[in-house]
């Protein structure tokens, strides 16, 4: 008597969620027609942070690579935009994927160095490399040295002639990056590599014993994260129109905030960065005027969540209610075949 | 009155229950052996008694006081020292430093560096060597000496003959009478039935987390033991 097996990842909530998600995305895509200019700028920030958070979560939450140096790739992407737009005369929008490529390219030698360090030392090693990039760009006088440079008006007009058109295009890019980064993580986790990652996260020796090539999977994830982070970098400075080494390679803006977002939302869950991003921007709306106090509150909140609920806010919700919006777990369903 | 009275002790690793209601007594100065096959729960029992695994307070009563579930460093201060399985010497420390670690408990009595070196003279010669540079038998002597330095009233020995040559095992067990002479009760956990029967006043046999047999070695027949050991 044979049993019938089906392997499913979808859940009832996830299917219902899928429909809601599509409607939500359609609404967001239509943003330029119903959002104000200020709202659109905020949306670009939110989208950028979400994409960065997804990438950091992919690194730390799934591949066990706790990087404190993602600002390296954000800054590289930002500078790639200025090099491409000003010196190569490329359309700034074309520069966005190229910035991703540039960051991924730099990530290869970076990985060769920092992958020699394990665990916590890897974290500080990535930070050192990011400092090296920052200090190096500060020495390049063609890029404005330490004080940085602005994107010339004619390059900016290359995006679109009118300000409204530019805002809309940048908005769509941010939306695409946020959705793309989330989709990338989701897609990756559903592939064989994703299974490998989950296995590595759960037990590195066990993963090795079933023949999963950790080093290679981790390397791929690191390069992929650099690619997306580089694109976000180009987008961020396309909307800021001005770059400097301090802003481009800021550990607080591009890594500390991102870490806090992921930790608060939930490490190792795709929903975590989304929840964390919402909490982050809500808190900012109330506390941003307080300057340093805002960072103190955020830091304390992250520490408290890490200690009291290491699975994050989303983890708390998911465990209580059993919801999963992005199911990546495979569930085995066994049915006894009916006897004739 | 028993020095150690274990009543209905259960222990689990996560969802896996390893001990089911163990009852066991050790009187002051007595030598007791626990025998049993791999996975019978012998080491788990020692972990629960020494505080490395959770236990109900009343399940472990020492000197009339419930101590189940106390932290390992509290339990050893009460006078229960463990010679852990696999010896577990500190690799960064010399032989003498390993022995001195045993004295961190701060209990005084018969056992000092001097008396331990008298018990195992070879250790005095190797006192400045890193603990892990010694032979297996000598390492076992360090592990026993280290536990004695705590001047325990109850010494727990986990598989001290494991992986050693018969002649070395004989040397190690030759130390037991000297340990008993100091008034210390000894509990040895052994897979080697013959060795256990020779040294112990009383024997407990564990099987799948239960006590399957107990008694004085002279009163037990080989058939009884085989059945209790292998469940056949």
């Amino acid at each position: 008597m044979a049993n019938r097996f089906t392997v499913v990842t979808a859940t009832r909530t996830s299917r219902a969620g899928g429909v809601v998600l599509l409607v939500l995305l359609a609404g967001l895509a239509a943003g330029p027609w119903w959002l104000g200019r200020g709202d659109m700028r905020l949306a670009v920030e939110i989208g950028s942070m979400l994409a960065l958070a997804q990438m950091w979560n992919l690194l730390a939450g799934y591949a066990g690579l706790v990087s404190v140096g993602q600002q390296a790739f954000l800054g590289l992407g930002g500078y790639a935009l200025f090099v491409g737009g000003i010196f190569l005369g490329l359309n700034p929008l074309v520069c966005i994927p190229l910035a991703g490529l540039a960051a991924a390219l730099f990530a290869i030698p970076t990985a060769a160095l920092v992958f020699r360090l394990r665990a916590a030392y890897f974290a500080i090693g990535t930070w050192v490399v990011a400092e090296v990039y920052m200090l190096s760009f500060a020495q390049v006088s063609a890029l404005g040295g330490g004080s940085g440079m602005s994107l010339p008006a004619d390059v900016v007009r290359g995006i679109a002639e009118d300000a409204g058109g530019r805002d809309a295009l940048i908005y769509w890019c941010a939306l695409a990056l946020a959705v793309g980064a989330t989709g990338l993580v989701y897609g990756l986790l559903r592939t064989r590599h994703g299974l490998a990652l989950t296995a590595i996260r759960d037990s590195e020796p066990a993963a090795e014993s079933v023949g999963i090539d950790n080093a290679r999977t981790r390397w791929l994830v690191y390069i992929a994260a650099a690619f997306v982070t580089g694109m976000v970098g180009a987008l961020v400075f396309l909307s800021k129109l001005r770059i400097s080494p301090d802003a481009a390679f800021s550990v607080v803006d591009w890594t500390a905030y991102v870490i806090f977002i992921v930790v608060i939302g939930g490490v190792g869950r795709i929903e975590g960065p989304i929840v964390g991003t919402i909490v982050f921007f809500v808190l900012r709306a109330f506390l941003a005027d307080l300057g340093a106090i805002y960072l103190i509150v955020l830091g304390l909140l992250a520490v408290a969540v890490m200690l009291a609920a290491p699975q994050g806010l989303w983890g708390l919700v998911a465990e209580r209610a059993g919801v999963e919006l992005f199911p990546v777990r495979r569930r085995l369903i066994v049915e006894k075949e009916q006897q004739a | 009155m028993s020095l150690l009275a274990v009543r209905g002790l259960t222990a689990r690793y996560g969802d896996f229950q390893a001990l089911f209601g163990i009852d066991l007594d050790i009187a002051a100065g007595e030598t007791v052996a626990i025998i049993g096959a791999n996975g019978a729960g012998k080491s788990t029992f020692l972990k629960a008694v020494t505080g490395q695994l959770a236990a109900a307070p009343d399940a472990v009563v020492y000197d009339g006081r419930p101590i189940g579930g106390e932290a390992p460093h509290h339990i050893v201060r009460r006078g229960i020292a463990l010679v852990p399985e696999g010896r577990q010497l500190f690799p960064s420390l010399t032989v003498e430093e390993n022995l001195l670690m045993g004295a961190c408990v701060g209990r005084t009595g018969h056992w000092t560096l001097q008396t331990v070196y008298e018990l195992f003279p070879v250790l005095r010669e190797r006192r400045s060597a890193p603990g892990t540079a010694l032979s297996g038998g000598q390492q076992q002597m360090v592990a026993i000496g280290r536990a004695l330095m705590a001047n325990p009233r109850l010494l727990l020995c986990d598989e001290i003959s494991l992986g050693l040559a018969p002649i070395v095992i004989r040397d190690i067990y030759a130390a037991v009478p000297a340990i008993r002479a100091g008034g210390t009760a000894v509990l040895v956990v052994e897979q080697d039935i013959r060795q256990a029967m020779a040294v112990a006043d009383r024997v407990y046999c564990f099987q799948e987390g239960h006590v399957s047999l107990s008694g004085r070695p002279a009163d037990l027949t080989l058939d009884q033991i085989t059945q209790a050991y292998f469940g056949m």
């Binding site: 706790v66 404190v68 060769a112 160095l113 020699r116 360090l117 665990a119 916590a120 030392y121 974290a123 500080i124 090693g125 930070w127 050192v128 490399v129 400092e131 090296v132 200090l135 020495q139 607080v252 500390a256 870490i259 806090f260 930790v263 490490v267 300057g291 340093a292 106090i293 960072l295 103190i296 955020l298 830091g299 304390l300 992250a302 520490v303 890490m306 200690l307 290491p310 | 020494t50 490395q52 390992p72 460093h73 050893v76 201060r77 020292a81 463990l82 852990p84 577990q88 500190f90 690799p91 960064s92 420390l93 430093e97 001195l100 670690m101 045993g102 961190c104 408990v105 701060g106 890193p130």
Partner: protein, 288 residues
């Protein structure tokens, strides 16, 4: 001759880096904890020095009498109350909690002391120097820092290899679970190690405050210097950490001699070069 001078000054600077690094090396050695707030704790000690100097009018070096025990107490409490909660198999909690702590300390200092650049005034000591042949002069202050670094590391070496608590530190580092079977309360031992590490941070912070300008946000850079000295020297060896600090100091001084803008960069590059060629460091402990 100016290159020789650069190397000499670099060696002196290396003493300060070695002091930064010693605490980091010590707590990693005892409890495998990498404290990302290490640099900020050094800066916190510097600001405690500022507060004591301004409040009591003491000479900066005398503030050590107050700041060192205060930081040691803080270290004990921090470990017992917070960091012990993060220890376990997972690397995320200790990293993220100390990273959060780093951001919190920086911003508390910003709120309390503002972003102004500070320095502790040590009077005549700042300019006093010894003239050597060939126009090279060694400042008394940098020399004192270097000698103090040697003394601190020598003292820690004695504590680790000649005292009971040092033995307990090493045993706990080897295997905390077995150390507990010897009656050692590992949580207390970890807290003592952190107290010792922050006492060293206090010395480093006060000396840094006398030698250089500082602001509330320079902590992470000190963490990186400390980390680089530890890795260059090789994990697990305090004398290696001293050597690592000196190599880093010399690299920075040579960089500064080439162009003032590349001082820090030259140090980072020296570190990356060591990482590329000899990832185990130059003087690793042979037995681990």
């Amino acid at each position: 001759m100016e290159w020789v001078n650069a190397v000499v000054q670099g060696v002196m600077l290396g003493g300060l880096f070695a002091l930064f690094a010693t605490g980091l090396s010590l707590i990693f050695g005892v409890m495998r904890l990498v404290n990302l707030a290490h640099g900020d704790l050094i800066v916190l000690a510097a600001f405690l020095g500022v507060a004591v100097v301004e409040g009591l009018g003491l000479h900066p070096l005398v503030t050590l009498v107050i700041v060192v025990p205060a930081m040691a107490l803080l270290g004990y409490g921090l470990q017992r109350g917070l960091l012990n909660l993060t220890l376990g198999g997972d690397i995320l909690p200790p990293l993220l909690v100390t990273f959060g702590l780093s951001i919190v300390i920086q911003n508390v200092l910003l709120e309390t002391f503002s972003a102004d650049t500070r320095r502790l005034q040590a009077g005549a000591l700042e300019t006093a120097s010894i003239e050597l042949a060939g126009g090279i002069s060694i400042g008394w202050l940098p020399l004192i820092v270097l000698l103090l670094a040697v003394a601190v590391i020598g003292g820690l070496q004695l504590v680790f290899y000649r005292t009971k608590i040092g033995r307990i530190f090493r045993a706990t580092s080897d295997n905390p679970a077995v150390a507990r079977l010897m009656g050692v309360n590992h949580r207390h031992v970890f807290a003592l190690a952190m107290a010792l590490a922050l006492a060293v941070c206090a010395v480093a912070g006060i000396l840094m405050a006398i030698r250089t300008n500082f602001t509330p946000t320079i902590g992470p850079a000190r963490l990186l210097f400390a980390f680089e000295a530890v890795i260059i020297g090789g994990l697990g060896s305090l004398w290696g950490t001293l050597a690592g600090g000196i190599i880093l100091g010399v690299a920075q001084a040579i960089g500064a001699q080439i162009h003032p803008g590349v001082q820090i960069l030259a140090g980072h590059i020296a570190f990356l070069a060591v990482l590329a060629v000899r990832p185990q460091g130059l003087f690793p402990r042979l037995r681990d």
